[in-house]
Symmetry: C2
């Protein structure tokens, strides 16, 4: 017989996957909301309009806390850090089974139905895809080099806050490279035509 749940001081603020992703980010390094959106791009694309209100809710729950940093000629920023409570629920969450990954990719739908149009359009799509992933990869390799210069051996230490992000960066480059390889493989199949 649940009552007054919404009026309760400890009102249930839904901890969803993105909420934990934000905690994981600020665990590694104190961040502004703006910065979080950029760092998140690596494995959980979210818009600022989703991140800012969520951060406020996480602060309400006292999983994060912020300090104001005044800037000259730039808008002030709120730098968030993880609290002890935040660290605890994040650690507990890591011990739960992760949900199955979700991928949504319009390009694949277009390839699925490419037989309806032309092999010319197929080639176009594939070349654009190669371009896209090549750009991603170039940027990614740059970021890997930056991390390597800044933290070197720490990156291979599973107890370092940098370990996770570095491993995930490595994963992404592998997958991006494989995407490019596949595109070339398909282009080969289209040659005869």
């Amino acid at each position: 017989m649940k009552r007054e749940v919404k009026n309760c001081i400890f009102a249930e603020i839904e901890m969803n996957s993105l909420a934990y992703a934000l905690l994981a980010m600020v665990a590694r390094k104190d961040c502004s909301g703006y910065e979080l959106v950029q760092l998140l791009e690596l494995f959980w694309q979210a818009k600022h309009s989703q991140v800012y209100p969520l951060l406020a809710k996480l602060e309400q729950k006292q999983y994060v806390a912020h300090r104001l940093v005044k800037q000259n000629g730039r808008p002030d920023k709120k730098i968030y850090r993880l609290t002890e409570q935040g660290r605890e629920i994040l650690s507990a969450w890591i011990h739960e089974e992760p949900a199955v990954p979700v991928v949504r990719d319009e390009f694949l739908t277009k390839i699925y139905a490419i037989w309806l149009t032309s092999t010319k359009r197929a080639r176009e799509l594939l070349h654009e895809r190669i371009q896209y992933f090549t750009d991603m990869l170039t940027d990614r390799l740059l970021k890997i080099r930056e991390m390597e210069e800044r933290w070197s051996d720490d990156l291979y230490d599973p107890h370092s806050p940098q370990f996770g992000r570095y491993m995930i960066l490595q994963r992404k480059t592998r997958l991006e490279q494989e995407e490019i390889n596949w595109c070339h493989w398909v282009l080969e199949r289209l040659k005869k035509d």
Copy 2:
């Protein structure tokens, strides 16, 4: 000064990515809603509660049409096919730029913050991940073999309705293999610990 848009006979039924994915599916092969959910799993995970109403809307717009198939001891099913109008808007859509792919993967968040817990949990997560992708891959290879037996040379013909799905299956196996390779690579980094 838009007026009466909602009362108009040709009321705007929003054509979203999933709608086109459904059209692409029925273009290849007549399908029931139930079957579409399963086939879609390859690159656009959707629940039946999203698919059935969308199919009804697509039929309203006359992009698909269905016939009833009575079954003994099983519920009747609605087999959908693509109409000429459906084929046209699908072809037109293929000539538009695809949206950037979206990935959401809780496992990666857990790896990101793994330094907070233990390398034991890290190993556990990676082994479960390997198991998951190995299972996916086994199933995927089976489906590839099934397609190869059924259509053989058609699969490499860009004008065959089977071409797209086959290419996408091949892509998925490559990516899944690479996911597994990466997991083993990370496990190596964890050995010293």
